[in-house]
Each structure stands twice: as structure tokens, then as C-alpha cells.
């Protein structure tokens, strides 16, 4: 039992940190550009596939740098030649543009790399168990993932606190209307923020690819959860996104390990009810509903605390 708790906590924190790598970019982009980037998870996927392809050619470590760079450049191009163009047609058009983009990226990835998972392996240097806890191995690569996420998290904090762009971003987070008065190089800052945001998502992709799965549906699986994180944390709140990421990471991993169902708590249903719809609910375990929990959380938060956990504004 203890073993399960320790392993689940580690996995949960890890998943949460990965979510945060993406959610941070998404939050900043939303605050500055006012666009909820539907294609954000697609950049995570692009990161994983670029990482896979580049590590085939030149190895994992260069890929860890090159893949996010490449994805970031694509992000910049998307902002410069796509979003900016669509901006004049309003927010709905922008949202739909990123929606279409997510759709197209998934198709392109399917065309190039196919639908089945690709063989993206953990680099040999890190392919050993970091430690063994109650006879379960914990892979070194996962520790490495944790390390990378924490390092990026810290450097992000540093950039936000210490640089001029960081200050502008911070200001934008709290006073989104102020961004309009930023002056002549606002376009460049938007581009930069979009590029960095998508590159961060791609970093998450490169490190998650070998550990989890590199497959064309990975964006579609993660995308909605990412929105849940951002909304639950509070739109425009970085600390909120951080807490929500960890919360959802832990929630999902722990839910999986709980086999409790109403039936196991209160005993089986009365036979008169046993074949009705109630038995579906009665016999379902927490583990089975694990994937639904984030959405349930989203709906609850939106009903009871519409601005999110740490958010300050309503939309």
C-alpha cells in the first residue's frame, strides 16, 4: 500500500510538472494575445515527433535542444503569418484558427509518422532504474524528466522576475488591457511569447515522448486536460496553473490506483435493481472514472468558483 502511495505520488508529480510545462506557455499566450491556443498540445506532439526524428539522426541530447527550437520557430511562424492575420476577424476566428491548426497538425503527423506509436527510446545513458522502492524500479529517465521540469520552472520564474520581457509578461497577466498600450514592438513580443510558449510545450513533448508514448493522438488526449488545468487554475494565473497541474496530475494517478466502487463500500445492489441503469453507477470503480475526473473538476470549479483557484478575472 505504502509502495503504491509513493510510486503514485512520484508519477503524479511528474505528470503534473509536464502539464505545467505546457500550461505555463498556454497561460502566458492567453494573457497577452487573448487567444486560447487550441493547438498548444499539438506543439507538445510536434516536440515529441521532432525529438524522435532528430534523435534518430544525431542522438537524444541534441534533439532535446533542437526539437523545441524547431517547434518554437513553427510557433513563431504561426503567430506571425497566421494568428496576426486572423486577429482582425475577432476572437472567435482566432480560436477557430487554432482549432483548425490542431486538426491539420494531427493529420500531418499521421501522414509522416503514421498512426501507431513510434519507437522513441529512452537514451541508453538514462536507461536504468534510478532506485528500487519496495522492489519496484523507478526509471532514471523519469527522474531526469522531473529534473528538467523543475529546472525549466525555476528559470521561467527567473526570467519573469528579472528581465524586461518578463516584466511585460507579468504586467500582461494582471492587466491584460495594458498590453494594447505597449508601444511599437508589441508584435515582436507577441511573437516571442508565442514562440517560447510553444517551445516549452515541445520540451515537454521531447521528454515525455520516450517515457510515455509518441503517437499521433497524443495531442488530442492531452489537449482538453490542458484546458482544464488552465481554467481550474484561473485564466491568466501562473501560480494557479502550477497548483492545478499538480492537482490534476496527482488526482489522475491516484484515482487509477483506487478500486473502490459504491458496491464495494455499501455492498451489492438489491437484486431488484441489479439489472437497471443504477448498476452501472453502482459497480463503477474510481479507477474506471479516472479520466473523467478532471472534467468533473472543471465543471465544479466553474460553477462554484468561476474565476478558478487563483484567478482574478472572470474570463
Amino acid at each position: 500500500m505504502l509502495e503504491l502511495i509513493v510510486i503514485s505520488s512520484l508519477n503524479g508529480i511528474l505528470f503534473g510538472m509536464l502539464l505545467f510545462l505546457m500550461a505555463s506557455g498556454l497561460t502566458v499566450i492567453f494573457s497577452m494575445l487573448g487567444v486560447l491556443n487550441f493547438a498548444h498540445a499539438s506543439f507538445y506532439m510536434l516536440g515529441a515527433f521532432f525529438g524522435f526524428q532528430i534523435s534518430r539522426w544525431v542522438g537524444f541530447w541534441p534533439a532535446l535542444v533542437l526539437a523545441p527550437l524547431l517547434a518554437g520557430l513553427i510557433g513563431i511562424a504561426v503567430e506571425r503569418y497566421g494568428l496576426r492575420h486572423v486577429h482582425k476577424n475577432g476572437h472567435v476566428a482566432e480560436l477557430l484558427f487554432t482549432f483548425g491548426l490542431a486538426f491539420a497538425i494531427e493529420e500531418v503527423v499521421q501522414i509522416i509518422w503514421g498512426k501507431s506509436p513510434v519507437d522513441f527510446r529512452v537514451p541508453a545513458v538514462l536507461d536504468f532504474p534510478a532506485f528500487t522502492i519496495f522492489s519496484t524500479n523507478y526509471p532514471a529517465f523519469k527522474m531526469f524528466m522531473l529534473l528538467v521540469s523543475v529546472v525549466i520552472f525555476l528559470s521561467l520564474l527567473l526570467v519573469l522576475k528579472k528581465t524586461r520581457v518578463g516584466l511585460i509578461v507579468q504586467a500582461a497577466l494582471t492587466h491584460p488591457h495594458m498590453v494594447a498600450h505597449l508601444g511599437h514592438n508589441v508584435g515582436r513580443i507577441f511573437m516571442l511569447v508565442f514562440g517560447v510558449g510553444t517551445a516549452l510545450a515541445a520540451v515537454a513533448g521531447v521528454i515525455a515522448g520516450p517515457a510515455l508514448v509518441t503517437q499521433s493522438n497524443m495531442a488530442a488526449l492531452l489537449g482538453p486536460i490542458l484546458f482544464v488545468v488552465v481554467v481550474v487554475g484561473g485564466l491568466g494565473s501562473l501560480p494557479g496553473a502550477f497548483i492545478a497541474s499538480l492537482m490534476i496530475g496527482l488526482l489522475q494517478t491516484f484515482a487509477v490506483s483506487i478500486n473502490t466502487s459504491p458496491a464495494s463500500l455499501f455492498g451489492p445492489l438489491d437484486p431488484a435493481w441489479a439489472t437497471t441503469w443504477l448498476s452501472d453507477i453502482w459497480n463503477v470503480t474510481v479507477a474506471q472514472v479516472a479520466p473523467v475526473l478532471p472534467y468533473l473538476l472543471l465543471v465544479l470549479v466553474l460553477i462554484f468558483r468561476p474565476m478558478g483557484l487563483l484567478g482574478t478575472r472572470e474570463t
Binding site: N11, P117, P129, T136, V213, V256, S257, A287, Q288
Partner: protein
């Protein structure tokens, strides 16, 4: 102007396929050919095209050429029905499909209703891979024939093998949370309890279908349970990722699976280093010591870069030809009547038969394991160097299960 354009656009897909030649037998292949399931659907399509070619070089069926008409159903039941309608318009009287029991159920239902409402224009449905038992039990149809062993039959075969393997003591069940996974789970529990009451079921897991990207939490549970054997009906990424996570966590158990041989499976097994620890229950394997199937396999692999994944498709096509010969007609009703109860020398050797009661085909079932190859094992999988090795053969008679089907015949 717009109306004419519209009419033209509508007419294109509809009229374009209307011309049906009488001297060919068209078999509509309804499976995913775009998007999600395309890679699997392509493998099936090429298999059937290869088999149609085989029949045609022997002079076709009753002198008529066999043509496979590919139809993309996008793994969606509604879309499958649209495509079936399209196929029927194009003169197709035989359709075949395999991916997804939900699609199979919808198609079987559709064909049954269509035949009832359009007497004289009957259509037959050959199912080569959808294994949901209901299709040959509660929801059986005269117009549906299944060549794959349904999941209960496979479990019967698997448990018959497990019965004679005393090293199995603690079994963990992990399955996808949908009808197929649930039937694997409940049958495993029932059959093991009957055949090996000493085996302890230490875990019984259902996880969401194709939505898990990290199986580490599940593997932690398996590990915690102290299981020595895992039984799973998982397929696709759900088996590949499960094995990957198991290897990461250093889980040492034996895996009894239905679909470890599917696309990506062997690669994952090799990567996880599970040498002869992953077993698969199937109706055939490439390395079987049976010359005709080996020759076939060789020719097949020479043409495509994947192995013969569907021995049952071979049985299906060859039996179709034999039934047409027997009936001396390619009329679907007559072919169906000829198929009922037909016995047949199957692709991998041995005798199989199409049970009249429920249109389920019975055949020898094999248990095999993937790992390093021996001398008489020429074929590897997915260029891993590892191949399937025969572990046990379960004879046809040992796989026969009762059916609840009440067949309504025309």
C-alpha cells in the same frame, strides 16, 4: 447555377460507382482507410487483395474475377452503414469487415434488415476479425459469418492450456473497459474457476479504452498484487504501452494475450526484453511447421513488408470460393446455404468447420510466445529478429462452445 453545381457534386460520388460489371464478383472491404485506424485497415486491405489475386490466378470463382472494393469507414459505425449502402449501389453482394465489434454489430444489423426489406437483393457479411461473442449468440444473423474465433473460444483455448500449466498460481486480469475487454475478463474468471479452482485472481482491472498514455500506475498495482501471470485482451497501443511500462518497472510475469502480435506489439516486446514471456492465442502463426502455409507466408512477405496477420482471411476467401463451387452459384443466399456446416482444411493445417447453428467457424487454436528464434523458425516479426514459437495447439473439438443463437433462416 448553384443548383447545377450541387447536382453535379452529388452525382459524382453516386453515379461514378453505378456501373457494375456482371462478370466480376465484388467484395466490399469496409474498414478504416484514413485517419485513426488506417494503418491496420491497410494491412487488411492488402491481405484481401493478395487473396483475391490468388483466386483469380486459379481462374476466379466460377470463372468470374474477384475484385476487392475498398471502402473507408473511418472506424465509425454510422459511416460503415453509409459505405455499405454505397457498396450495394455499386453492385457489391458480399461485404467483409473486421475492425471493431461496434462496427460489426451495426453492419450485421444493417445487412439483416436490408435483406429483409430487399428480398432478391441479399447481401452477405463476412466477418474476419470482430470477436464479440454476441454476434454469434444473442445477436446472431443468418447473413453473418465469422471466421475468427470469438473471444470466448479463445479464452476456452487459453484456459485449456493454463489448466495444464501448474506454475500459474496468481493471475492478474487487466482489460480495456468496453464490451470485448469485459467479456475477456468475465470469461477468464468463470473458466479459470471451473478448470483451475486453485488459481487465485489477485487483480481485476478495467481501464479506459485507448486513452492511457502511461501505464506505470497500473503496473505498480500489478506488482503490488504479487501476480505471476497477467491475462489481457488489450490490443493496439494499450498492449504495447502496458508492456513498455512493465519493462520500465522491472515487472517479471508471464503475459497471456489476445493481440500482442498486432502492429507495434512485437516491437514493444523486443524493446521490453520480454523473451518468450509474452504469449498469444491465435488461429495460426508463421513459424508453424506446415509447408503450404510457410510457402504462402514467404510469397506474402516477398510482396509486402509485413507478415500474414490474418490466416482466417485466407480461410474465409478460400471457403467462399469452395462454397460458390458447391452451390454452383454466386447468389448470396445459395452461398450462405452452402457455407452452413461446411468443413474445410484450414490454412495452417487441420480441419475446421462452419457451425450451422450460429455461423461461427471452429478451427485449431495455437498458443505461441514471442522471443529469440530457434532453427526451424524462419520468420521474425516487425524486423525485430524475434519470432513466434509454438507453445501449444488446442484441437478444434476442444474449442467448441455452446451457443444461444436462435437462427432465423429465410
Amino acid at each position: 447555377m448553384r443548383k447545377t453545381l450541387l447536382a453535379a457534386a452529388l452525382a459524382l460520388p453516386i453515379l461514378g460507382s453505378a456501373a457494375a460489371a456482371e462478370d466480376t464478383i465484388k467484395i466490399g472491404y469496409i474498414d478504416p482507410l484514413s485517419g485513426g485506424g488506417a494503418s491496420v485497415g491497410e494491412v487488411g486491405l492488402k491481405t484481401f487483395q493478395f487473396l483475391a489475386e490468388e483466386l483469380n490466378t486459379k481462374g476466379g470463382v466460377l470463372g468470374k474475377k474477384v475484385e476487392i472494393v475498398p471502402l473507408d469507414n473511418k472506424t465509425n459505425p454510422q459511416e460503415s452503414l453509409i459505405q455499405a449502402q454505397k457498396a450495394i449501389d455499386a453492385g457489391v453482394r458480399f461485404i467483409t469487415q473486421g475492425n471493431g465489434s461496434s462496427v460489426a454489430g451495426a453492419l450485421s444489423d444493417f445487412v439483416t434488415k436490408y435483406n429483409e426489406r430487399n428480398p432478391g437483393k441479399e447481401v452477405l457479411y463476412f466477418n474476419y476479425a470482430a470477436v464479440d461473442p454476441v454476434l454469434t449468440n444473442e445477436k446472431c444473423s443468418f447473413w453473418h459469418f465469422r471466421w475468427d474465433a470469438n473471444s470466448d473460444i479463445k479464452m476456452e483455448a487459453l484456459t485449456n492450456y493454463m489448466k495444464s500449466t501448474p506454475s500459474i498460481k496468481k493471475v492478474y486480469l487487466i482489460n480495456q473497459d468496453y464490451s470485448f475487454g469485459q467479456s475477456v475478463r468475465s470469461q477468464a474468471k468463470a473458466m479459470l474457476a471451473a478448470k483451475r479452482p486453485d488459481i487465485q485472481i489477485v487483480g481485476d482491472e478495467l481501464h479506459p479504452l485507448l486513452k492511457i498514455s502511461d501505464f506505470a500506475p497500473y503496473v505498480a498495482k500489478i506488482k503490488a498484487s504479487g501476480a505471476d501471470t497477467v491475462v489481457t485482451g488489450n490490443w493496439g497501443q494499450d498492449i504495447a504501452l502496458l508492456l513498455k511500462a512493465a519493462a520500465d518497472a522491472g515487472l517479471k510475469v508471464n503475459w497471456y494475450t489476445y493481440y500482442a502480435g498486432g502492429t507495434g506489439g512485437p516491437t514493444a516486446i523486443k524493446q521490453a526484453g520480454l523473451n518468450h514471456q509474452v504469449f498469444q492465442v491465435s488461429e495460426g502463426l508463421a513459424n508453424l511447421d506446415h509447408q503450404p502455409s510457410r510457402d504462402f507466408e514467404k510469397a506474402f512477405r516477398a510482396k509486402y513488408d509485413f507478415g500474414m496477420f490474418y490466416p482466417r482471411a485466407v480461410n474465409q476467401m478460400r471457403m467462399f470460393a469452395a462454397a460458390a463451387d458447391k452451390a454452383k452459384s454466386t447468389d448470396p443466399v445459395k452461398v450462405a446455404q452452402a457455407l452452413e456446416g461446411m468443413t474445410f482444411e484450414v490454412f495452417d493445417g487441420g480441419e475446421g468447420f462452419m457451425r450451422k447453428d450460429d455461423h461461427q467457424f471452429f478451427q485449431p487454436i495455437y498458443i505461441s510466445s514471442l522471443g529469440e528464434r530457434g532453427d526451424n523458425e524462419p520468420f521474425d516479426e516487425e524486423k525485430t529478429g524475434w519470432g513466434w514459437r509454438l507453445v501449444a495447439k488446442i484441437d478444434t473439438q476442444q474449442t467448441v462452445l455452446p451457443t444461444t443463437c436462435k437462427m432465423e433462416r429465410p
